[in-house]
Amino acid sequence: MTWLLIEKCVWAALAAMGFATLFTTPLRAFWATALLAALGYGLRGIALHLGLDLLAATLLASCTMGLLAIQFAHWVHTPTTVFMAPAVIPMVPGVFAYRSMMGLMEMSQTSIFSPELLMQTISYGLNTVFILLSLAVGVTIPSLLFKNRSVKDIRFLRSKKSRV
C-alpha cells in the first residue's frame, strides 16, 4: 500500500511536469509543480485509505494544495496558477470521463432498458464533473479565501526583507 502510493506520487509529479512544459511554466517553478502534485496525490490517496469518498478526498487534497501554493508563490516569484494549474492535472478523472462516454455510446446503440448501464453512466459522468469542479475550487482558494487581495500581501512565514 505505502510503496504503491509513493510510486504513484512520483508518477503524478512527472505527469504534472509534462503539463508544466506544455503550459510553458518558468523553469524556476517546476519544483513547486512537482512537489504540489506529489503531495496532493499522496494526500488524496491517504484520505481514500482512511475511508473518505473520492470527491471529498479530492477536495481536501486540492484545497491543501491551494493553501500551500500561497507560500510557494513567494518562493518561486510567480502567481499561484502558474504552477497550480499543471499540478492538479494528474487528478483529472480521465478514466471516469472515458467510461461515461462509452456508456453513452452504448446507450445510443441499444433498445433494451438497462438500469445498471444508465446508473453507471450517470454516476461516472457526474463524478467526472464534480471532481473537475473540486480541483478548480482548490486552484481558486488562494484568491477566494483572502477577500481577493493579491497573494503578495499574504504571508504565513515572516521574511526578513520584502522583495519584488
Binding site: K8, T24, T25, P26, Y41, P79, V82, M101, L132
Partner: protein, 261 residues
C-alpha cells in the same frame, strides 16, 4: 506607495494602446480575468491614470481617464484573437506590474519590457514531446495500467501530440485538430484492446488522449465565474466543452472503426 508629485503626461492613445497590449497578451496567455484586471489596473495607477475595463472572450474594452482630470475620457477596444497558454508570460507580466508600481517606471521602459515578454518562447519541440510522452505514461500508471499499457499509451501520446502540432501549425481549426489527434492516439492505443495486450488495455485508450484535456480553460472558467466575470467564464466553459467533445468524437470514431466497445 510613495508617488512623486509630478507624473509625466502622456498621450491618452499611447497609454491606452500599451495597457490594452498588456491586457490582450495576458488574456491570450491563459491568465484568468481577475488577474488581467488587477495587473492592468496596477500599472495604470502607477502611471497616474484611472481605468475601467470590460471583458469579453473576443476582446477587451478600456476606458482611460487622468487622475487629475477624470472627466476627460478615452475608450478603446482590442481583440483577443488566439488563446495559447504561456505561463511564463503571465508570470513575467505579474512581476513587471509590481516593479512598475514600486519603482515608478516610465512608459517607454514598460513598452520595452512588454516587447521582451511577448517574445518569450515556448519550450523546444523535442523537450515538449519527451515530457508529454512521459506524462502520458504517468497517467496510464496512475489509472492502474501495467508496463505494456504504459508503453502503448506513451507511443500513442507521442504520435497524437505530433499530429496535433502539425495540424495546428498548418492552420487547421482547433476543434478539428484535437479531434484528429484524439482519433490517432486512441486508434493506436486501441490496438491493445483488439489484440488483448496486458491486463486492462482499456486504461491505455482512456489515458492516451489525456494530453488534450482543456485544463487551463476549465480552471480559468471556474475562477472567472467565482470572481463574477460571468460572460468570460461561460465562454471559457464552452471552449472547454468544445474541446472535450472533440476528444470524445475522435475516441468514438476510432472505437467504431476498431470494433471495440
Amino acid at each position: 506607495m510613495a508617488k512623486p508629485s509630478t507624473l509625466p503626461v502622456y498621450d491618452y492613445r499611447v497609454v491606452s494602446s500599451l495597457l490594452l497590449d498588456i491586457a490582450a497578451l495576458l488574456m491570450s496567455s491563459g491568465a484568468h480575468t481577475e488577474r488581467v484586471n488587477r495587473n492592468v489596473r496596477r500599472i495604470a495607477h502607477a502611471l497616474g491614470y484611472n481605468i475601467e475595463l470590460f471583458f469579453s472572450f473576443a476582446g477587451i474594452t478600456l476606458t482611460l481617464s487622468d487622475q487629475k482630470s477624470p472627466h476627460l475620457q478615452h475608450t478603446a477596444f482590442r481583440r483577443v484573437s488566439t488563446y495559447a497558454v504561456n505561463m511564463s508570460v503571465v508570470s513575467a507580466i505579474s512581476r513587471m506590474s509590481w516593479k512598475v508600481s514600486v519603482e515608478n517606471w516610465p512608459l517607454e521602459s514598460i513598452a520595452r519590457e512588454v516587447e521582451r515578454i511577448r517574445s518569450i518562447p515556448h519550450y523546444p519541440r523535442v523537450v515538449l514531446l519527451v515530457m508529454i510522452t512521459l506524462a502520458g505514461m504517468a497517467f496510464c500508471r496512475l489509472a492502474g495500467g501495467e508496463i505494456p499499457a504504459m508503453l502503448l499509451a506513451g507511443a500513442a501520446t507521442a504520435i497524437g501530440f505530433t499530429a496535433r502540432n502539425i495540424m495546428l501549425g498548418s492552420g487547421y481549426n482547433l476543434a478539428l485538430s484535437i479531434a484528429a489527434a484524439s482519433f490517432i492516439a486512441s486508434a493506436i492505443s486501441g490496438l491493445g484492446l483488439v489484440f488483448h495486450w496486458g491486463e486492462a488495455p482499456e486504461i491505455a485508450v482512456a489515458t492516451s488522449v489525456l494530453f488534450l484535456i482543456p485544463g487551463v480553460p476549465m480552471i480559468n472558467s471556474i475562477i472567472d465565474l467565482m470572481h463574477g466575470h460571468i460572460i468570460v467564464g461561460q465562454a471559457r466553459a464552452m471552449q472547454g466543452m468544445v474541446i472535450a467533445f472533440a476528444i470524445a468524437m475522435g475516441l468514438v470514431i476510432s472505437s467504431a472503426l476498431l470494433g471495440v466497445h
